[in-house]
Chain length 344, copies 2
């Protein structure tokens, strides 16, 4: 009887093992090219979105993926894919970037973005934009034709105007949802008499929505980009990690491409994006282990919340986050589109 | 005869070796505490400064060192030493920070700074300040009492005003020398019809003067800070590496504290300060080897110019630069003050 049971178990072992391998290598097999995107991490628990809202997010993430996939499968560059994918997300009111940017304490929208080319280590970044429709296209232009990396405020918009980057009236960024978020958070703040003195005073229920994309193209070049409206009710010209090369965005053909989303202050202090790259390049870690180490250990132990998406030079991907959910999606050279929202 | 010569050489060997060891360990012996400062790297060749100018720089660097040394030997914190030392350099018109800040293309002064505490990884940063007398004291305040890391522009100055950081009229930053530098560079630019399209178009004769300080205190805590007026004739709200945590400034008790000076765009693209830290922490390099690798190999191969100062948790220091000179100085627990300008 025991022997029969053992033989039965042996027969079972092969397919079970295959299934297990298939699951664990799903996000870690080598791929000739690939694309990973995020639309923000936060307290997105099951039930907090209606089925209709879920569908809206999934459809837009899928559309963004398809745009990038078409570029990459046709032999286009990772940097082009990153820009065009983020354009889709910026133009949607669903995400806290471009059209859907949150409001500052003064009731305006201030947008930040950055982009990096892993082949050349060239980079572009901009912060405190109030009229640039697609910040990721501005930072691409800064990277491509300027001698500078980072431009801030009105100066950045003068550069944009001189270089045919689309400017819009600030009313373009008004959305009722984000306006209501501002009113709500300002009432909450008054109620708890919250001051500026403590990192931990940060409201963990705040929903982020920064967008980002990392890509590997058929020529083995990596690129990363991030675009955001920052933090609802931000004051004092606050700038987060999204426009900071090494914090919110980093790409290096020697290691990986990373885009972050979350409580930006912690991502700056941890130089999160470059730290993942350094663990791979200098410590020989896999992308998965490096991303896990930085997000689930280092960031969490600092009290920071958020996540990253990343792809390495072999087409391995990682999407760790320490919040309840993160809008995320990826496609590799098998052409299989995967879109996810909640923790699994 | 040959034997006598050999015996003579043998006798010589011992003191020669001792002298050599003494030289090479001068900057690399362990020290209970220590302080390293810079006042900018650039094309500072012997003969470009008069003996009187040399003396002026040396005296001011010595004064700054003494200020920090007094704090550290009395058991004060590295973060206090960094702030107070940089205050001295900011208040001097000799350096491109605070009082001696360079002019933008629009003829104003825009100051940037950042500070980081290696014990907590807390950090503060600010950019595009036009009225803050001591930017390093503002970023210290941002780090200490704000929930944010980086504040930019007028918002940062409103925060400064609300928190008793000294504001001055913008005329405070006028110095004839810097004004003349602006006129000169604008004429040169016109002459060569320089556009914005090429990193290499950057004038290698440009003299930087960013200031920075890194310190180790008796409790084993590291700190770093950097303050600058940026680049003469900068346009479009350009921000360099000085206010970028991980690029111009980084401190981590697990590795080292770094402050950078040079052509900021390359320091951002290379995430220079964090890269040195990562080579120590993840690759087990010595501070000297890591700093040399990043400045003399990586930065140089990108075409970037400048240097860094650094101190590690054991009191080893490094001051590499790939320009003709760098205003630099250090003191360790032996109380010996060393001030240098030119390459040796």
């Amino acid at each position: 009887m025991k022997n029969i049971l053992l033989r039965f178990l042996n027969i079972l072992t092969v397919p079970v093992l295959l299934i297990t391998l298939s699951c664990s290598t799903n996000q870690n097999k080598n791929s000739e090219f690939g694309l990973v995107i995020h639309g923000g991490a936060g307290n997105i628990i099951k039930g907090s979105l209606t089925p209709e809202q879920e569908k809206e997010y999934e459809t837009k993430l899928q559309e963004a993926l398809e745009t990038g996939y078409k570029i990459l499968i046709a032999g286009g560059s990772s940097i082009d894919a990153v820009e065009k994918v983020i354009n889709i997300l910026e133009d949607s009111p669903l995400f806290n970037a471009g059209k859907g940017a949150v409001f500052t304490a003064n009731g305006i929208n201030e947008l930040d973005a950055s982009i990096m080319d892993g082949r050349t280590l060239n980079a572009g970044a901009a912060a405190r934009l109030t009229h640039v429709k697609n910040p990721i296209s501005l930072v691409r232009k800064i990277m491509d034709i300027s001698e500078h990396v980072m431009l801030v405020g009105e100066g950045a918009e003068i550069f944009a105007e001189q270089n045919e980057i689309k400017l819009v009236d600030s009313s373009y960024f008004f959305t009722e949802k984000r306006w209501n978020d501002l009113q709500k958070i300002q009432i909450e703040k008054k109620a708890i008499n919250k001051d500026q003195a403590n990192f931990n005073s940060y409201n963990p229920d705040y929903k982020f929505g920064t967008v980002g994309c990392t890509a590997l193209d058929k020529n083995g070049n990596l690129a990363a980009g991030t675009s955001t409206g920052g933090m609802t009710n931000k004051k004092f010209g606050r700038v987060g990690d999204s426009p900071i090369i090494g914090a919110g965005t980093y790409a290096n053909n020697n290691s990986c491409a990373v885009s972050a989303t979350g409580h930006g202050e912690f991502f700056i202090r941890g130089t999160i994006a470059h730290d993942i790259s350094a663990l791979i390049e200098y410590k020989g870690m896999s992308l998965n282990d490096a991303a896990d180490e930085v997000i689930n250990k280092k960031l969490s132990s600092m009290g920071g919340t958020g996540g990253i998406i990343a792809i390495d030079k072999k087409g391995n991907i990682a999407m760790p986050f320490n919040t309840a959910g993160m809008f995320r999606a990826f496609v590799l050279d098998d052409g299989k589109f995967v879109v996810k929202i909640y923790k699994e």
